[in-house]
């Protein structure tokens, strides 16, 4: 894991700590503890052991032969869908939960949209013996009943969020409010590279195992680095995880955002989740970043068929990397994602998560943007999305 100065809170103009004073001390304590622990051999050994034996790392870098044939170029898939729980989320959760334990915290709180981060938190809470409570918007609870049941089965408590839009952004608000009153015993386990410092840095570093592995694997397989890497971006944790291994290389990094049902916006709702592409600078959840907002600064609700990309903000480091031109923002809409899901299922026998399907669909529609050798970060598996896809098909009358 890369060592970074824990006192640094910014990525260019983005990032920072825009939080109530009550949260300043807990954030500083977290940054200090994390900064110390990541240099601690015993801690890293425990994390590595859990990543190996519990999460199932390393994940394969798989040459997708049929997809490659179809696109006329070599496409590899980084198989984060094979991580325990079915998504890359566990990498971050294991690291943060160990930090929480080392800090003497007895309770974890987490936010979740689709439920993947909530499920990963519940799994680790059970595994490490930490009480776990997950904030989830009432609308999402209705959409993701199976994941709610999974969390409960794992011993976690799911707390319905009824404020605002009753989705992910409000679940984050509620978790931050809880933490402001409970930080003495509780760790807030944020699921993505958003939020106030140190979260964007810490979550990226904990997810950087994806990029570290992928870099070694592609060098073994190809004897060279890829021309491009594509990853879907909601908050951006899987993208930053894989990109971080290639930032200094001549590798095109494509951040595929949710185009939803179009790039239009209503008064309170945007029809997409594409902050790097169409967002504007502003503060959400404690960080200066690119967000979806109205001209006065009210946050818009986002939209994507993929709940994990349905977020009106994006990690501040991605906002910075896009601004300086190191990351190329791209968009895949709902239909492109569904194309990705169907084609990968049929071609490779892999059903990707709707989130990851955005990156696959983008590759299918824009093969020339990939170069000769590329990697798609397959951040999760699609089992959780089958009900959504079936419902969508019914609605469009197929």
């Amino acid at each position: 894991m890369k060592i970074t100065d824990a006192s640094m809170t910014r990525f260019g103009r983005f990032g920072g700590r825009f939080v109530p004073e009550t949260l300043m001390q807990p954030l500083k304590e977290l940054a200090e503890a994390y900064g110390r622990l990541k240099e601690d051999a015993g801690f890293m050994e425990e994390l590595t052991s859990l990543l190996t034996d519990y999460a199932g790392r390393p994940t394969p870098l798989y040459l997708a032969r049929a997809l490659s044939r179809e696109l006329g170029r070599k496409v590899y898939l980084k198989r984060e869908d094979l991580v325990h729980g079915g998504a890359h989320k566990l990498n971050n959760v294991l690291g943060q939960a160990l930090v929480a334990k080392a800090m003497g915290k007895t309770r974890l709180i987490a936010e979740t949209g689709a439920g993947q981060h909530g499920v990963a938190s519940a799994m680790v809470g059970a595994n490490l013996g930490l009480e776990t409570e997950v904030y989830m918007g009432e609308v999402d609870i209705e959409r993701q009943k199976m994941n709610v049941y999974r969390m409960e089965l794992l011993g976690a408590k799911v707390i319905p969020v009824r404020s605002g839009s009753k989705t992910l952004k409000d679940a984050i608000n509620e978790a931050m409010r809880d933490w402001a009153g409970s930080y003495e015993t509780t760790h807030y386990l944020m699921g993505t590279v958003a939020g106030p410092h140190p979260y964007p840095l810490m979550v990226r570093e904990l997810q950087s195992v994806i990029g570290t592995e992928a870099r070694e694997q592609i060098l073994v397989a190809e004897g060279r680095l890829p021309d491009s890497i594509a990853a879907c971006v909601g908050g951006g944790s899987n993208a930053m995880g894989i990109f971080s291994g290639f930032l200094k290389d001549d590798v095109k990094l494509v951040a595929v955002e949710a185009g939803g049902r179009g790039i239009t916006s209503g008064r309170k709702i945007a029809d997409h989740g594409a902050c790097l592409n169409f967002g504007e600078e502003g503060v959400l959840h404690g960080a200066m970043t690119k967000i979806l907002q109205d001209p006065y600064g009210q946050i818009l609700e986002s939209y994507s068929l993929a709940a994990g990309l349905d977020y009106p903000g994006v990690g501040p480091e991605l906002a910075h990397l896009a601004e300086v031109g190191r990351v190329t923002p791209a968009v895949a809409d709902d239909e492109t994602a569904l194309l990705g899901l169907r084609r990968l299922s049929v071609l490779e026998g892999i059903i990707p998560a709707l989130e990851s399907s955005h990156a696959v669909g983008y590759a299918l529609r824009n093969p020339d943007a990939l170069g000769e050798v590329s990697i798609i970060n397959l951040s999760g598996r699609g089992d959780k999305d089958l009900a959504t896809v079936m419902e969508h098909e019914g609605r469009v009358g197929r």
């Binding site: 939080v19 109530p20 009153g181 959840h285 600064g297």
Partner: protein
């Protein structure tokens, strides 16, 4: 009126309301009612879609206000319409200020009679640009101290504050609580500053207001209790609450002209 002038006679009562709840027009009358009933400062909240420092009562008010069409343009119209001989203070989240442009926001405050700003999600580390804009427009920017703020950080926060220093009575978010904590009193005691100290978060009754004044605070801030009464259209109750609080803090410590501001 400037905050410094208001704090010449202390202790004082600061009342918060959410602009636009139940409607922009109603807010003007409610603010004037607060001043008539004895509030020495009126905090006028600009509703935000994502108020992370606020509890359920103020969250709901913000949502109602936004639904009623409240926005930053209307906010300044409302502020400039209020006729009350007390300082008006802006309270709102940084993104709303940032989107308007810091200098434009400060200018609009000045033009509409607002003399101070409280931005609860803007710690001093991030407040440099807004502080400069406030200085250019001759406005106070009020900083907050929390119960878990380390001793060595308090002078840094106080230095960045003007008008008064906002002491957050307890961890967590805004909203009524049943008692005043020992830690609140300890906070009032350990914050050593030349600025007036006003205590908010969880103060909802005359007794609680009196308690923080007795503990040495120069002002008591009431928010959620006002917003709650407004949400039930109980303006008679609101007037009673303010009168009761004002009387209680006056009894807790006789109002005096401060020797030094």
């Amino acid at each position: 009126m400037r905050l410094a002038e208001a704090f010449r006679r202390r202790p004082l009562l600061i009342a918060y309301i959410c602009a636009g709840d139940p409607s922009p027009e109603a807010t003007v009358g409610i603010a004037e009612l607060l001043a008539r009933a004895g509030a020495d400062v009126v905090e006028l909240g600009l509703p935000h879609s994502d108020p992370i420092a606020d509890g359920p009562v103020i969250q709901a008010a913000a949502q109602r206000a936004i639904d009623a069409g409240m926005n930053t343009d209307l906010y300044f119209e409302v502020a400039s319409t209020i006729r009350a001989n007390v300082p008006l203070v802006f309270m709102g989240y940084y993104n709303m200020v940032y989107q308007r442009g810091l200098d434009r926001f400060a200018c609009d405050c000045g033009a509409s009679g607002i003399t101070g700003l409280i931005v609860p999600d803007l710690p001093p580390e991030e407040a440099g640009s807004l502080r400069a804009a406030c200085r250019r427009a001759d406005l106070d920017l009020i900083s907050l101290v929390a119960p878990n703020t380390p001793a060595e950080r308090i002078p840094y926060i106080a230095e960045s504050s003007s008008g008064f220093l906002y002491l957050v009575a307890r961890a967590g978010v805004t909203g009524a609580r049943s008692e005043v904590l020992q830690s609140t009193k300890a906070l009032i005691e350990r914050v050593d500053t030349e600025l007036p100290k006003a205590v908010g978060f969880g103060i909802s009754t005359p007794e609680q207001a009196a308690e923080v004044i007795r503990a040495g605070a120069d002002g008591a801030i009431v928010g959620s209790a006002c917003v709650d009464l407004i949400s039930r259209s109980d303006l008679v109750g609101l007037e009673e609450l303010i009168r009761g609080m004002k009387a209680a803090i006056g009894e807790a410590r006789p109002i005096e002209a401060a020797a030094r501001i």
